[in-house]
Symmetry: C2
Subunit: 328 residues, 2 copies
Amino acid sequence: MVDQQAVFAVDLGGTRMRGALISPEGDVLVRDTVPTQASRGEPAAMRRLAGLLERMSTAVPGVEVAGIGMALAGPVDPVAATVHNPPNLPTWDGTSPTADLSTNVSVPAWVHNDASLAALGEFVYGIGQGMSNLVMVTLGTGVGGGLVLDGKVYGGLRGFAGEIGHLVVEPAGPPCPCGGCGCLEVMASGTGLARMARERLEAGESSIVLSMARGEISRVRAETLVRAEARADRLASEVLRAGGRYLGIGVATLRSVLDPEMIVIGGGVASNSHIFWPAMAASARVHGMRGDKATLPVTPTVLGDDAGLLGAAAMAWGELGVGPSYLK
Amino acid sequence: MVDQQAVFAVDLGGTRMRGALISPEGDVLVRDTVPTQASRGEPAAMRRLAGLLERMSTAVPGVEVAGIGMALAGPVDPVAATVHNPPNLPTWDGTSPTADLSTNVSVPAWVHNDASLAALGEFVYGIGQGMSNLVMVTLGTGVGGGLVLDGKVYGGLRGFAGEIGHLVVEPAGPPCPCGGCGCLEVMASGTGLARMARERLEAGESSIVLSMARGEISRVRAETLVRAEARADRLASEVLRAGGRYLGIGVATLRSVLDPEMIVIGGGVASNSHIFWPAMAASARVHGMRGDKATLPVTPTVLGDDAGLLGAAAMAWGELGVGPSYLK
């Protein structure tokens, strides 16, 4: 007996795949996680996901799965539903995860980039409810981003729009893994903050960061800096302030180019550091246009790690005709 | 006897108002210009425009004017059709030019920002025909811009999107009239290039630019630099190269954020300098993502000064139901 319909939402990252059955209202009925084991190949991962879905369906009897929405950590062509050179999923280039998953599970499936779907999650179920557009910036190891413009996920020509981490914020900045240089990602991501701190430690600067990393400079992480900041460490505070300032430059640029209703910031550093956010806000005001200085439509994520999962659910519900379509 | 329908397209700038009767195919049937005389007030300007329309209608008998499209040099709320603090049209804040013009001329009228409509002009009648999205950057005294995304003029929350001149390209750069600092406009506009040259001349650097400006540093213009470049002047060449590099940073950022099908660059410096464009292209590649380095979807405008006028026509035709709507 079917009591309720749900979609199977998947947040597929380089390390783990999180799955959940989610109602049209955005309620998570059940959730579970399996390892991605990306290097063992995409078909094997899809079989593991099918198994996860089967276990979850058994766990909540009476729920019928109507479709699948997948948020994938990498560039996705949402029309062809293929993955393009995902740095965190080696050997997956050119694969079609949803097509392969659909052969195991006979319901329709849709896939999109995880940061784009995090933006959609906030737009449909989070802070962006009732808005017409929203920009999401996710700070983590890298810096990701997604755009919902005029009620639709905006993917650009190739589905690659929203690469906010590669907005140039420091022309003379260091090279970025993307191939560019001075990108927001090298100046404000967890990796970028840790690099800045390590460079100063290597230059001989003293800081409790070093003892927190057990004397090994290579062990310094962005989280180390946030902990050191709480103890008023100067190096940590300055690096976090610099990172916040660069994010503020990105915020000012996004505002001038897109005039968004809200810019949502996700990630541990932004929410845990007491220095990073105010530095971002001050810098966004300095670099912002006159009429934009009084107000700053920037907010922390309200969905946190679930933004992508809920965005995947919103996409699937929309394509199933329950609610508006958020794709083209 | 009515042989043909046309729209009255207006490009309304701080100094002059250009009008034209334009067919659905984008053919200009007749064109003329009247001074804006902005300080004498918006109603007087609208009466002058109504007179211009009457004269042009007389000049081409058999043409019926079905509607009006207006490209205005300043921020426009396209829904309320009101103007917001246009820097080049003092005393016009809060006015509704199309409403006032409609009372003189009994056909419907639509208004939008001129740079947004320049983007639409290229999209409908210029280089962007058949594309799904396009970004326009207009280099002049300032730097303007417009976005056509998924076939619509994208205005953002307040209709202010596309302020590409206020993309931050140099965090430590000088203040911008917008209230920010280090904006593309201060680093690559005609005003910005002239400022950079003047600063170097004031510091005592020698250059033929000074004699070209009849010995007065204050007379140096961007056009002076382009002429001096042709005579291999070092100062002029370096300033134009720097400006081009900053535009390239903006291009790289726009590409990462919006993944556009084409970025169209308008303005005299971009088309007349032999240094500016290659410097822009090289910098866009340096700052671009790996997969984006081989191709560079950047082109000079093909419609030139008429882009805004033709965009105004396309908007009016779309709202009249001849062709798709390019607004929401």
